[in-house]
């Protein structure tokens, strides 16, 4: 089914514009048309269907479910809910406080918040269509593991001591607030959603997500296409290939402060991998751009002290570097 998009690009670029796929401009344009058309069609279909299915999953229900759970189960659940719950990163702070004031350990909350930007329906659709299901599976497992172990680590150093005073107080005096649950009942947003309510939610999600990500698709595919057409074949492999152990931590240190959406980064990943950048280095770079960004750290400053932010930064640097080395090693041994 996906070769339609390649044929569309053949038609537009080769037949209409008369360019060859083998020269630079033709190759880059072909890549651009094929990938953007494929991505948009898949996104529209998948976002709508997934939103329809999960219309009744709200963060308030996740909180009530996670509160009082077994701690070790909690990291896995926190990370799993982070992956599947519809949630915009602009709500990070109220969500953090909502979980914290319900007595959920900081580590479990952070498992949720770390996994959430890494894994979502848009990322999965893009990965599966551009890099295949095997890579997607690896990505999901790695993303969730980073979330879980990150959370476990933060609780083991008792990260709650390093929150801002008011957030610490909220954690210590934890009780479950009920205000939002009331309005959910009033507006009929509970378990038994009618099909038309689900459709309305799904359409809202679709327009909301598309209006946020469309430019990232163009930027990401554009950068990918430029890499594809204009970086000399073999240059990346030669300069950033397997032999250079330092390229992984360097890529991660570069990626963490950079802000990019998963939507923009995945097409770049595809291009980097086909250009010969090792899989682990690519994965490490891309996950670090998506998981954290400079503006996000500024936001978190509202609830965390500088020391905790610094710990979080180092934690991400170390875990993504380990991920990168692990996957470079595995692919060197022929596992990937």
């Amino acid at each position: 089914m996906l070769e339609w998009f390649s044929r569309l690009a053949d038609f537009l670029i080769v037949e209409q514009l008369g360019l060859s796929r083998d020269d630079r401009l033709g190759g880059a344009l072909h890549f651009f048309v094929e990938d953007t058309s494929k991505i948009f069609v898949l996104l529209v279909v998948m976002i709508y269907l997934i939103a329809l299915a999960r219309a009744s999953l709200r963060v308030e229900r996740v909180r009530d479910y996670l509160a009082g759970r077994n701690r070790y189960l909690g990291y896995g659940l926190g990370s799993a809910f982070g992956a599947i719950t519809p949630f915009c990163s602009c709500s990070s702070i109220p969500l953090f406080l909502g979980f914290t004031s319900a007595g959920i350990p900081i580590g479990i909350t952070m498992s949720f918040l770390l996994t959430s930007p890494l894994i979502n329906e848009v990322a999965i659709v893009l990965l599966a269509s551009l890099l295949g299901w095997k890579f997607t599976l690896v990505y999901v497992v790695v993303g969730m593991s980073v979330g879980m172990f990150g959370g476990l680590f933060l609780d083991s150093i008792r990260a709650e001591r390093l929150l801002q005073a008011f957030a610490r107080k909220a954690f210590d005096n934890a009780s479950a607030p009920a205000a939002v649950d009331n309005i959910i009942e009033n507006s009929g947003q509970n378990d038994s959603l009618t099909l038309s309510a689900r459709h309305r939610f799904a359409m809202d999600e679709l327009t909301d997500i598309l209006s946020r990500v469309w430019k990232w698709v163009f930027i990401g595919v554009g950068v990918g296409a430029a890499l594809h057409g204009f970086v000399p074949e073999g240059w990346i492999e030669q300069h950033l290939g397997d032999g250079q152990w330092w390229s992984v931590p360097a890529a991660v240190a570069l990626g963490i402060p950079l802000y990019a959406n998963a939507t923009g980064v995945i097409p770049v990943m595809e291009s980097l991998i086909t250009q010969g950048l090792p899989v682990g280095t690519t994965l490490a770079f891309c996950m670090s751009t998506v998981a954290a960004s400079f503006p996000e750290f500024i936001l978190l400053k509202q609830v965390m002290q500088w020391r905790l932010l610094a710990i979080l930064f180092v934690l991400l640097l170390v875990s993504f570097t380990l991920v990168g080395w692990l996957f470079n090693g595995l692919s060197g041994l022929g596992f990937l």
Partner: protein, 78 residues
């Protein structure tokens, strides 16, 4: 006179929410004061976990998305 607070970190959606409430209030001829609040402690007090959220005369009415026109009309006319 209704006092309406839009809670959120200042993202586009919060701005749009405040704007559409003001616009609809004007069309309906309802007097309102709309303020945008970015204080996380205020969100915590109201139990808000997803933004934008709408608080009218101290009561939380909505959270997590830009409200639809029919909802806004209902709040303003009640």
């Amino acid at each position: 006179m209704k006092t309406i607070q839009v809670l959120g970190s200042g993202c586009t959606k919060c701005r749009k929410t405040a704007e559409s409430i003001e616009r609809i209030a004007e069309q309906l001829g309802v007097e309102v004061t709309v303020t945008k609040e970015a204080d996380p402690q205020l969100m915590m007090q109201h139990g808000v976990m997803t933004t934008p959220a709408v608080v009218i005369d101290g009561r939380l009415q909505h959270s997590g998305s830009i409200p639809h026109r029919d909802e806004i009309e209902r709040w303003l006319q009640s």
